[in-house]
Amino acid sequence: MARTALPGRLSTRLTWRVATLAEFHDETATARTLRLDVPGWPGHLPGQHVDVRLTDEDGYSTQRSYSLAAPADGDRIELTVQRLPDGEVSGYLADTYAVGDPIEIRGPVGGWFVWRPPDPAPVLLVAGGSGIVPLMAMIRSRRQAGSRVPFRLVYSVRTPADQFYAAELRRSARADGGLDVAVVYTRSAPDGWARPAGRITAADLEALGWPASFEPTCYVCGPTGFVEAAAGALVDLGHDPRRIRTERFGPST
């Protein structure tokens, strides 16, 4: 099958393949970005994820899903892993996993929470914590495609130190035409920040997002409680539920 075939729609059953860590860097004190080489990677759409499987020497095996953080670069893919308290997979990937080590990867998967660059509708991205990861893949794909589709990102994080991709997002807001970035701090804001720290509200989404009358496609990603509240607020603001796509990470940290 050609490598340009529909990502996620393989002609054969989805199977595990071996990926190798090529390089990494720490994103925050508790999150690490991993660049993996996956021979024969078929490509993917921004918003898709992979399943990662770890198998111990005694045969014990466990798996988790991680969103792809960037468009594919040939056979190289990028994940950003937030270390969870007692997270057996995230702890390994964020602390122990070393360059050259193998892991098993399955994907790309998921065809619903994706953005396709030809889609001309304005886009509202709403991220809670590590929910920024698949949305960053959309921002980077938009840049790679040279798209001028209007994008707005509302990114909720606890403190400035918890922000992923901080330097790139500051640069993107200036360099990527038609990309607006707004950060909402929930625990502590930088000195002089106009908005006091606190959980994101419907008023924030009204002020920082697109009006419902612009008919944007909304992508909301984060811990389940965050997604419930943010998606509910968007519906209350008049957004059509059919244009709100959500990705829940399950329990928040």
């Binding site: 054969t12 059953r13 994820h49 899903s65 998921g110 619903w112 965050f226 990705e247 829940r248 928040s252």
Partner: protein
């Protein structure tokens, strides 16, 4: 945001890998119809509980179980009793 919201489930996007092992199409974009309340919606929007030994997907409208998927060492078991139909887009 409000602490009242439950945090113990994911959404149907989490089924993409496990169902991708069984089917050649992406089932998470299929439209499923609930046997309980008749609601139609994307499989990606179901509420998926993964604490059990397996995955349980419930209707976001009435909370009825629409799918259960258990993966064993040499087989997968998919129970679709709560789903009336799955509409899968197949271009061409």
């Amino acid at each position: 945001m409000s602490e009242d919201f439950t945090d113990d489930y994911e959404d149907g996007n989490a089924l993409a890998g496990p169902l991708g092992e069984l089917f050649a199409v992406d089932v998470t974009t299929a439209i499923g119809r609930c046997a309980g309340c008749g609601r139609s919606g994307r499989v990606a929007e179901l509420r998926v509980y993964s604490h059990a030994p397996g995955l349980v997907a419930r209707c976001p409208g009435c909370d009825r179980v629409m799918m259960r998927l258990v993966r064993g060492p040499d087989a997968a078991w998919l129970d679709l009793r709560g789903t009336v139909s799955l509409r899968v887009a197949l271009p061409g």
